[in-house]
Chain length 210, copies 2
């Protein structure tokens, strides 16, 4: 599982010419900046400066700012995917597995709000089909879809179109997570856990075999 709050990436030693693994360092530096100051505040100049590298060095590794953000989003989806698969298996699959996925999803969002906003905030405008980002996003979605199919096959969930079920569940946890992060859950918002608990309860009620 890729780390989302990496240790400080190495600065270039002033004398040396090559940085080393600049691409990976650029990614980490961008993530750090976003985590601390938000997506809007991210400037390529600051990223370069944090690594002791010129502001144009980045263009050797990313076509532009959008591509850098796409890489951040892809990393986020990979981490989310790992969290969902882990939750499902560690909870022993079944209804408990889906509950665990629901909690894992909300927790991922609230503990990595900046990553989450890059993933879903529309900052990445060109998500080409087959791209790293596209593949990572699909994989995360599949972790949920697989769980729902499993529940259907065990006769626990209603047997309608699994894709439609997955869209519904994903939309629900996504919306809850977004509103919670945006502070739009009212003046005295419930905790992330309480909200996730209520959400999972209702979701299961909505999809249970009748």
């Amino acid at each position: 599982m890729p780390s989302l709050s990496p240790a400080r990436p190495a600065r270039k030693r002033p004398g040396r010419y090559h940085h080393g693994d600049l691409r990976q360092s650029l990614l980490h530096a961008a993530v750090r900046t976003i985590d601390r100051q938000g997506v809007e505040a991210l400037t390529l100049r600051a990223v370069g400066a944090a690594l002791g590298v010129s502001r144009t060095a980045l263009y050797r590794h990313f076509a532009d700012k959008d591509t850098l953000l796409a890489a951040v989003a892809a990393e986020g989806f990979r981490t989310l995917h790992a969290a969902l698969v882990g939750a499902w298996n560690e909870a022993g699959r079944g209804l408990a597995g889906l509950r665990a996925q629901g909690h894992a999803y909300v927790t991922f969002g609230t503990t990595h709000p900046s990553h989450y906003r890059v993933m879903f905030g529309g900052y990445v405008t060109r998500a080409e089909k087959g791209s790293d980002l596209d593949v990572a996003g699909q994989a995360a979605f599949m972790a949920l879809l697989d769980a729902l199919v499993d529940l259907q096959q065990h006769g626990l969930f209603r047997r309608d179109d699994p894709m439609m079920q997955a869209r519904y569940v994903w939309g629900t946890v996504h919306g809850i997570t977004m509103l919670l992060m945006a502070g739009k859950m009212g003046p005295e918002p419930p905790s992330a856990d309480a909200l996730a608990e209520y959400t999972v309860d209702r979701l299961i009620g909505a999809l249970r075999r009748v």
Copy 2:
């Protein structure tokens, strides 16, 4: 119901000194630009130019760009509020009323994607309590909350915390709307109406009195 796609706002007559209702015109010009080119592409310079006015004239009416966007978001919430109240009443309240609200919500988002993104995309960073934006957002939320309380009182919905129910329902339709708008509903996404229909069906199933 305030219009979200206003007619072209009047340009200043070159000779004249005063523009007239500049504040309203600025707002309309901003909305037009956002609808056509997205939030990222909105520049104060372009807004001024569209009205035949200097780019700093805006600062007489809005403290800064953030305040302008907050006004756009507030206008969006007022329109959404009107749509939700209208849907509820025109459908004759009850379960049909809630179904209509669900459709109205998704329709509002998909037909005004740019507005929707300003409202929920985190572009407005300072939503002060008691501000125009805050009040408009609360009012829209109340339209949903009122509907749920009504359904509870008629014995149709389970009698748990109405606020929690409202958060859940809002989160669900919000998430569905966002993912649909962002093109994250898969390679062959269902129509907005089909998605809204499925969503409303499941929501009612989740909240029905047992």
